[in-house]
């Protein structure tokens, strides 16, 4: 509570963002976070409240800023890959893919068919895993605590699959410029098949807990409404945009990795509220399963990484017999490969929305500039628009419904 002016020097800098009523003490300025358990990471919100109603909200981010873009400029294209996983820690495969696509476009690398299919399969599994985390934490925020235990159980199966192929559960670095790291081990196809056969029954269980649960409906319907045109103007993408009735999906709009060959629907909502965003993601589970199923059928034997020795290391077996291979191996891991002067922008559909990579080459083996257009950063900007005039208790629901990852927002 502030009497005549905002005394806190930090809040003083935000004075212009609050109404004059905050200065007279008529409304209350309240700090929320960055250690609040329901802000999905280290998000800090400064709320201006009239009673329990939110008049305005100022999101403050940066607590997870690690200077990834700067660091990547200091590494070769191959070294920089491992930093991409760490941005959005629920979408590791998707980040690897966005980065790899940008490097491939800049350098001009072709990717073999089997690698394309594997990529699609893995990013869709990753989308399911990410949505499972979203569902568990989002429902948990609104007092349906038990969801988390169920969704994490299923997510673990996906992480087991990732561990099987890359040795890592989260920071996979499996998708690389030119293809994927190496071919999947035996048992992979069976494991994926078993998982996609198992999941639909589990999704029914989740529905039984939430879909018609009166408390859930009360807490999500007509909360955090944003209409389609405002959502576009704020640059919102992904399920948050589709929940407002705009069927915009990068996989359909600008297909990459062969998405144009897969059959799937883009679910949309009507009202643009928290409930519709829930319905959109709920349906996306099924669509992702459809895509994984088609990818499994499409998977045929073949190379998984480009045979261009300038960008991909030669197979281990060649190193003992070919001097050329040794030279390529050495050059690739010491100097790296060079990209021409030029700039590209590549966008993929991450579980949260449009994940874009703007990459500039300068003729050398390191990126001159790399910029991550991350969906969490952009979607978060519209949070105050959705939250105004709602009760303070609804804030956590609205945050959950845009599914932010702070590692993604702060980079």
């Amino acid at each position: 509570m502030f009497d005549s002016e905002l005394q806190d020097p930090q809040l003083d800098k935000l004075k212009h963002l609050f109404s004059h009523r905050a200065l007279t003490g008529e409304t209350m300025v309240l700090n929320m976070g960055p250690q609040h358990p329901s802000t999905h990471g280290v998000l800090r919100l400064v709320l201006e409240l009239d009673g329990e109603i939110i008049i305005n909200m100022v999101p403050i981010i940066g607590y997870l800023h690690t200077g990834v873009e700067k660091n990547m400029e200091d590494k070769t294209f191959l070294q920089a890959l491992v930093m991409s996983d760490r941005l959005d820690y629920l979408n590791n495969m998707g980040n690897n893919l966005a980065y790899s696509l940008a490097v491939e476009k800049l350098v001009g690398i072709d990717v073999p068919e089997r690698a394309q299919v594997l990529r699609v399969m893995l990013v869709e599994l990753q989308r399911i895993a990410s949505h499972l985390v979203w569902l568990g934490t989002h429902a948990g925020d609104m007092a349906a605590q038990s969801m988390l235990f169920y969704t994490f159980r299923e997510r673990d199966d996906i992480l087991d699959i990732f561990e099987m192929i890359s040795g890592q559960r989260m920071m996979t670095s499996y998708i690389r410029p030119g293809g994927v790291w190496r071919d999947v081990p035996s048992g992979f196809v069976e494991a994926v098949r078993a998982f996609i056969d198992r999941l639909p029954a589990k999704l029914k269980e989740y529905d039984a807990l939430l879909l018609n649960n009166p408390i859930w409906l009360d807490r999500t319907k007509n909360i955090g409404v944003i209409d389609g045109q405002s959502a576009l103007a704020w640059g919102i993408t992904g399920p948050a945009l589709r929940g407002s009735g705009i069927a915009y999906d990068i996989r359909k709009a600008m297909p990459y990795s062969g998405y144009e060959q897969y059959e799937f629907d883009v679910p949309v909502g009507k009202n643009g509220d928290v409930y519709d965003r829930y319905l959109v993601r709920r349906e996306e589970f099924h669509q992702s399963l459809r895509i994984v199923d088609q990818a499994l059928r499409r998977l045929s034997p073949g190379p998984v990484i480009t045979s261009d020795r300038k960008v991909a290391a030669p197979p281990r077996s060649e190193l003992g017999t070919s001097m050329e291979a040794v030279i390529h191996h050495f050059k690739l891991y010491t100097e790296g490969f060079s990209a021409p002067e030029g700039e590209v922008y590549v966008a993929v559909e991450s579980p949260r929305g449009e994940l874009g990579v703007y990459l500039v080459g300068n003729g050398g083996p390191r990126p001159h500039r790399i910029h991550w257009r991350t969906p969490s950063f952009v979607n978060l900007q519209a949070l105050p628009v959705m939250a105004r005039q709602h009760y303070i208790a609804d804030v956590v629901g609205i945050i959950g419904s845009i599914d932010i990852v702070l590692g993604d927002a702060d980079r």
Binding site: Q10, K13, K70, L232, W234, G235, A253, Y358, R369, F377
Partner: protein, 173 residues
């Protein structure tokens, strides 16, 4: 004539003297424009019904040190019917760091521009809320500039902890 060719033709006709360069690379079109006409061009691209670049997908910059123009600000626009992307690049003359804000045209430019202010030290005239966004408020310098070294924070180990600590700006006990 597809949408991007049409756009470039209309831009050339309408803003001919303000366009610096039209480049194509890997199927992406970049139009470099003068700073003085930047906002007019952005507004024209957004509000002309034929062009309809209503979606600002990304806004960022790059530092070309030691070359000049040093800073280039890049706007990634998209038209959502045919999914045509257009990149508008605005090189700032010499070493200059100021340009007009795009927030009256695209409201979501707000945070992007704060990010550029924070990491590149670019200032946007007329921006409603130009504060640092990801770095701490009291941070010195602009990390994404090319003359800002990587790892300029010294790493403290047990043997040199006190030495480095003495050089740090915060109050010592």
């Amino acid at each position: 004539m597809n949408h991007i060719e049409k756009t470039v033709a209309i831009l050339k006709e309408k803003f001919g003297s303000s366009l610096l360069r039209v480049a194509e690379f890997r199927g992406e079109t970049t139009v470099a424009v003068k700073r003085s006409a930047l906002i007019d061009i952005l507004r024209f691209l957004k509000d002309t019904p034929d062009l309809n670049y209503a979606f600002l997908a990304d806004l960022t910059a790059r530092d070309n040190l030691p070359a000049e123009p040093r800073f280039v600000v890049v706007y990634q626009l998209r038209e959502l019917q045919s999914n045509t992307s257009l990149r508008i690049a605005c090189p700032l003359p010499g070493q200059e760091t100021e340009l007009p804000t795009a927030t009256p045209v695209f409201i979501n430019a707000n945070w992007y521009e704060r990010e550029l202010f924070d990491l590149f030290g670019l200032t946007f005239a007329g921006h409603p809320d130009l504060r640092r966004i990801v770095m701490p408020d009291d941070w010195q310098g602009y990390p994404l500039r090319k003359d800002y070294p990587v790892g300029c924070e010294e790493v403290q180990f047990t043997f040199n902890f006190d030495d480095i600590d003495r050089r740090k700006p915060y109050a010592k006990s």
